[in-house]
Amino acid sequence: MFAKTVIASLLIVSSIAFGKETRQESYERLEINPARAKFNYQMLCQGCHIPTGEGGRGVPNMLNQVGYFLNITQAREYLIRVPGSANSALNDERLAELLNWVILEFAQQSEPEQWPPFTQPEITAARAEPLFEVVQHRHKLVDQLNAAGFPVVQ
């Protein structure tokens, strides 16, 4: 009986220990300060993307969607070059933190199993390439993502 108890407990403990990392562990791995990242989201994004990331009224939905953009280099860069990101009053380091936080917070099923985190040098490089026709560009990228099998909604 004792042995069974031990085995049952071990199974439960190991399923937690070897399962997906906790949100706190993700913050540590990605060097995110969650209070700061959330504040920046609230001050600079939430007004239009709303607290759940769903957007609406012409504002794209990020919930269960934004992670698909990490699968194609151009689409990943779009997340940096989109006016709300590129023109925000954040330096490159803070924008990297915010984008990593957005993926953890809103990607859900769309989050790839592994993805390299956004870094300051990547942000600096992509921000230096202005994006003029944002709606057209997004349209093209979503077509590409759909063709590659990622169910992004236009």
């Binding site: 009986m1 108890t5 407990s9 209070a35 609230q42 007004g47 239009c48 609406g56 009224r57």
Partner: protein
Amino acid sequence: MKLLDKLFEKSARRVAQNSSRRGMLKAVGAAMVGGAAIPLLPVARAADGASEAPVRPGEVGDPTSCDYWRYCAVDGFLCECCGGSVNTCPPGTEMSTITWIGTCRNPVDGRSYVISYNDCCGTTQCGTCLCQRDEGDRPLYRADKSNDVNWCLGSKSSIYHCSTAIVVGMAFEE
């Protein structure tokens, strides 16, 4: 091998003699429930974001007065005077999802909170308790930080009625 046989026989007999079948069910059940709860507790807390303080600021002041702390960045009619409240829209109006966001310092704890000034839309302007404090208001070319924008663009009707002031979080101070 003999040693193992002996060991298992001995332990099996001991179990058989000292426990009932129902007793075992009870113990395994208790262990599973208890075992599941113990490791889950800290994990669940971590998932909730343990570093964050709960957003329940103490309140002082009169929400029908323009001096009320949450209105530091407001520009419009106060829903509190229009049949709604500082957090809710009056009946017959719709809250705009798209909104402008600022921070105000709460006199109770001296800390800054993030305030969402969701407009209530759909009927003509309320007309009482006009309040214009405009802290943190930016020119129209920074549309997301301007309170001169008609934020009813996020609702079905773009007719502005009044403004709420909802606490949505803590400000982060470096």
